[in-house]
């Protein structure tokens, strides 16, 4: 009986401590209940919208999709494609692969030649990830981190040195990248790389470190940044980063933020939260069903004013137009 008592005591102690899930952004069963039936080719990374075609990365390659057609541009079972991006000139798509020997390689797909070739230039050595706004990061064996930009496949800008030696997180926006990490002194720092008039104007700005989960450029010359406590900061107002607004109901990843005029829309569980540069914030349903809200992967500019392409993971790709936060207009949504 003594051995049984010991077993029961050990189990009771275990039960008191074991409920843990430290890795994920969402609870496991919440993730399941928010999953959606697969009704379209799965989108794992949205790449962009060019010439009335939406481009995205899926499990088995890179696809293009329009109103009337969907086709796979690059088939890739093995090696698998980890991440991809248009080059700045939009003539190529660069993509990073992981081979069976766990070696990463960079390839370029050219739209004119309609083929893809391996890129072996030094600039692409030790590439960690390619982001969908033409930025990518390399990390050498001595932990030297470089932020690079792909103007075109033969002209990679490599002059963006970083003070970060240990990467924590990288966030992206349309024309910029926010890199969080530690410097050589193990201080937490944040660096914002952005351009306003093409790649030759790329600049690095050191900003006050917070545990940011998203950021977006707004018309008027600044960025709204949001941290993991749902506090919104405006980098254009002061250097102390006082809180401009606090929003609720927010997802802990903000890939799907976008901006309209002076407003930045952050994605919440039930609504989008348009936050104005002065801190005014609202809740606004963009016309998507709640289940689709959870399925949104990314929202990218379509090219026309206040028109966006909404990429969902399993439920298709939509065009969102006519959004106007000043009159609480949620715009119209049409599947493409």
């Amino acid at each position: 009986m003594k051995k049984y008592s010991l077993l029961i005591i050990v189990l009771i102690i275990l039960v008191g401590f074991v409920s843990c899930n430290l890795d994920s952004e969402r609870g496991i069963y919440r993730s399941i209940t928010e999953s959606s039936e697969i009704t379209s080719t799965r989108v794992t990374q949205a790449l962009g919208y060019e010439d009335n075609m939406a481009y995205f990365l899926s499990d088995d390659g890179i696809y293009s999709k329009s109103n009337s057609s969907e086709s796979i541009k690059i088939v890739s079972k093995t090696p698998s494609i980890l991440s991809a991006s248009f080059t700045y000139d939009k003539n190529d798509i660069l993509f990073l692969t992981n081979t069976t020997s766990n070696e990463t390689k960079v390839y370029a797909y050219n739209f004119t030649a309609v083929n893809w070739t391996e890129r072996v230039e030094n600039e692409f050595e030790n590439t960690k990830v390619i982001f969908n706004n033409s930025f990518f990061i390399t990390q050498d064996g001595d932990n030297t981190i470089k932020i690079k930009f792909i103007e075109d496949v033969s002209n990679v800008i490599t002059s963006l040195s970083s003070s970060i030696t240990t990467l924590t997180k990288v966030l992206t926006s349309e024309d910029s990248i926010l890199v969080l990490g530690e410097n050589a002194s193990e201080d937490e720092i944040a660096e914002l790389y952005s351009y306003t008039s093409g790649p030759s104007s790329i600049a690095k700005t050191s900003i006050t470190y917070k545990n940011y989960i998203g950021f977006e450029y707004y018309t008027g010359g600044g960025y709204l940044l949001i941290d993991d406590e749902n506090n919104v900061y405006n980098n254009n107002v002061d250097t102390t980063y006082s809180i401009e607004a606090t929003v609720t109901d927010l997802y802990t990843q903000q890939l799907a933020s976008f901006s309209v005029n002076e407003y930045v829309y952050f994605k919440g569980e039930n609504y989008f939260h348009p936050v104005k540069s002065d801190g005014t914030n609202k809740e606004l349903n963009l016309g998507f069903a709640k289940k689709l809200q959870a399925d949104i992967v990314d929202i990218l500019p379509e090219g026309n004013l206040n028109t966006f392409i909404v990429f969902t993971r399993n439920s298709g790709i939509y065009k969102l137009s006519g959004v106007d936060p000043t009159v609480d207009s949620s715009g119209t949504v049409v599947e493409i």
Binding site: Y4, L11, L14, V15, S19, S35, E37, I38
Partner: protein, 197 residues
């Protein structure tokens, strides 16, 4: 709905116990080994913070499978204590795999035992390793079971086990995932092969 499921399960156990009386076949020190395999169905998910109670299709999981091996030893003629190691799987509607590996200490009460036929009510307490979409977590697990078994020979028997498995994924009020705290209910039903001596 939540209460009615729980009450039904408790009533099944109570009435089953009242309805039978039997002589003891087993002796202290007897042992049983079992192998079982069957189906696993999600009954409900309850998110207490947001007060959402989801059943049926709203749990977003399909019918899955369950298998386990177990061992127990009698410490009275009607009670045995042992352990069970299992494996279950279900697919979400997104076709991603949810797997659990329960490890239980299990107390079995023999409501009926006459040498040919056993009816056992069991209570298991332990932990469950759960994996979904590259994420792994560990939760406490309580399992209630009811098992009728028929012994074809002196040592070998077959039966059917119906269980109610209840686990908790809990996040504190300071966690960003507090709203995702959930109580889960699954029902594995399996064919069971037993060896006793």
């Amino acid at each position: 709905m939540k209460k009615s499921i729980l009450v039904t399960i408790i009533m099944i156990f109570l009435f089953t116990g009242i309805g039978f009386a039997s002589t003891n076949y087993y002796e202290i020190g007897d042992q049983t080994f079992t192998f079982q395999a069957g189906i696993d169905k999600s009954l409900f998910l309850y998110f207490p913070v947001t007060d959402e109670f989801l059943t049926g299709e709203n749990t977003k999981t399909d019918l899955g499978g369950y298998g386990s091996i177990s061992y127990s030893s009698f410490f009275t003629p009607s009670l045995s204590l042992g352990g069970e190691l299992g494996y279950s799987f279900n697919y979400s509607i997104e076709r991603k795999l949810l797997t659990t590996v329960p490890m239980l200490a299990k107390l079995n009460y023999y409501l009926v035992q006459n040498g040919k036929f056993d009816l056992t009510a069991g209570v298991g307490l332990g932990i469950s390793f759960t994996r979904y979409d590259e994420n792994l977590f560990v939760t406490p697990l309580i399992q209630l079971s009811l098992t009728p078994s028929y012994f074809i020979t002196e040592n070998w028997g077959i039966g059917v086990e119906a269980s109610f498995a209840n686990s908790y994924e809990f996040y504190g009020s300071n966690s960003t995932k507090h709203d995702d705290s959930v109580i889960t209910g699954f029902m594995p039903i399996s064919l069971k092969m037993s060896y006793r001596h």
